[in-house]
Amino acid sequence: MSYYLQLLLNGVIAGSVYALFAVGLTLVYGVFRFINFSHGELITWGAYLTLMFYTPPFSWPLFLSAIPAMALTAVIGFSQDFFIYRPLRRGNPITLLIASIGLSYMLRNAVRFIWGSDLRTFDFPPARGMEFGGYYVTGIQLLMLAAAVFFLAILYLGLTRTLWGKSLRATADNLELAAIMGISMPRVSASVWILASVFAAAGGILLALDTNLEPVMGATNLIKAFAAVLLGGAGNVWGALLGGLFIGIAENLGVAFFSPGYKDLVAFALIFLLLLFRPRGLFGLLTGVR
């Protein structure tokens, strides 16, 4: 029994990081109606930029390194939009998709170019996990959970209590209506990109702290985020959150029942089952004919 509970616990922690990735992805979808493939690279860049400030010549402490890294990731996210997505927004959403795939490929190879394909790490000494009645949690895992809760709580407060959050949600609900209501689109779009980038970077840093850094780390986790977004219904922030948790738990518990080689398949299979039975996601809304 404790075996399954431990798996569940690990699933919750992994899932909370997936949720961080998924929230940004789903926000971008909600406001701009396209699936941003290069979201995964924001994760990677967030982690690698932190490493850059953490190692010589900067050698800043970790928490200090994370701040400029997140800021720079936000700059990347914002300039993606400014230079590439914005000029394309009037056209077919599919061109946006192709552009984002190209961009993702470009950014991933840029990481390889600058930092090499090799595995990197923050060089933290491994620590024995803390034991709570037979369950083990490491400090970093706790940090992950805490940071995820922190970020998501801020998001919750921001979206529900501030005017900014309300205008964001209004835009995600109905783009044209929001424009009529006098919500400033450039400001909303800037805040969406900054939010998505910061969340992706934060998730990437946590992931890197827990494990390692490598150029494909974002791309591999992006599929999990996709699955979470789909599960929650695209554009639905809370759905993405729950979806992320669900994916984390499902794939970790799955290992108990079949070969770990199929761990990734859990998220994929979930996506597929969902498309079969609930094409709009669990919490998704119907969209009609124009």
Binding site: Y105, N109, F113, F272
Partner: protein, 293 residues
């Protein structure tokens, strides 16, 4: 120059692959980001059958049929969703296919891959067989090209374009959109399967690592670069991409800078994709130019 033959064979195989994707992506507006799965299914089916002793020609036909059926099986659930979800569904399908190939070792030998895939009995092994294999590939490519041209130049292709431009109009005028899309995906998948089987019997070794998202990006690049929804575009795109990749070999790059070549190439490919959609959305050959648009 056998090497030239080799590059030509590769380019022709990629042309078939790109033409098959263009049928879906260019004409029907179906953004299949998992097209490599059908290439892979074709390659695996035909490799497994021919290694089990079936004549290569038969194995190739089975591979095409298998890839087509797999396309149909994917299409039915995947088409229930809107177009960007369709992209994700197909992408996920391709990854699932790769994972199954990696893990079902009793069938696919997993990561070990399948070596020693034979060529048709009447083609010599080794370099001596290259000219004949090139002719075989060229014939297949010409066949595929003519077939797709007949398909897209016909009322069928016109109906696909209606669907691509405005699905609701197509429905309002009695087109069975779902059925037409399924037919397109089945055809496209079978042709991708053909490309896959030609590739498998040519390279003579396949493993799951050959069927990743990178291959999909490459073939999407071929189609988008060459020109979506045109007859010659994907062929041109495939030749351009393959020749560019091989030309890099002849650049005198000092040994110590070699580490930077592949990432740089990747950045170039990604950058080209972005630039095309920004600056040259219709690719090298534009679909509507002849109409003066």
């Amino acid at each position: 120059m056998d090497y030239i033959l080799h590059v030509l064979i590769l380019a022709l195989i990629y042309s078939i692959f790109a033409v098959s994707l263009n049928l879906e992506l260019g004409y029907a507006g179906l953004y299949n980001f998992g097209h490599v799965a059908f290439f892979g299914i074709g390659a695996y089916i035909s490799a497994l059958l021919s290694r089990a002793g079936m004549p290569v020609e038969g194995a190739m036909l089975c591979a095409m049929a298998g890839a087509g059926i797999a396309g149909g099986l994917l299409a039915v659930p995947a088409l229930r969703v809107t177009e960007d979800y369709f992209g994700i569904a197909t992408l996920v399908f391709a990854e699932m296919f790769r994972l199954v190939c990696l893990n079902e070792r009793w069938l696919t030998k997993g990561p070990m891959g399948l070596p020693g895939i034979p060529r048709p009995a009447w083609i010599a092994r080794g370099v001596d067989g290259l000219p004949v294999y090139l002719i075989l590939t060229a014939l297949a490519a010409a066949g595929v090209f003519l077939f797709v041209r007949r398909l897209t130049g016909s009322p069928f292709g016109r109906a696909l374009r209606v669907i691509r431009e405005d699905e609701h109009i197509a429905q309002a005028f009695g087109k069975n959109v779902l059925l037409l899309k399924i037919k397109t995906i089945v055809t496209g998948s079978a042709l991708a399967g053909l490309a896959g089987t030609l590739w498998a019997h040519y390279i003579s070794y396949i493993s799951p690592a050959d069927f990743t998202l990178t291959e999909t990006i490459l073939v999407v690049l071929c189609v988008v670069l060459g020109g979506r929804g045109t007859h010659w575009g994907p062929v041109l795109g495939a030749f351009a991409v393959i020749f560019f990749g091989e030309a890099v070999r002849f650049l005198p790059i000092p040994h110590e800078l070699h580490r930077y070549v592949a990432p740089l190439q990747g950045m170039v490919y990604g950058g080209i994709l972005v630039l095309i959609v920004l600056k040259m959305p219709s690719g090298m050959i534009a679909e509507h130019r002849r109409n003066g648009a």
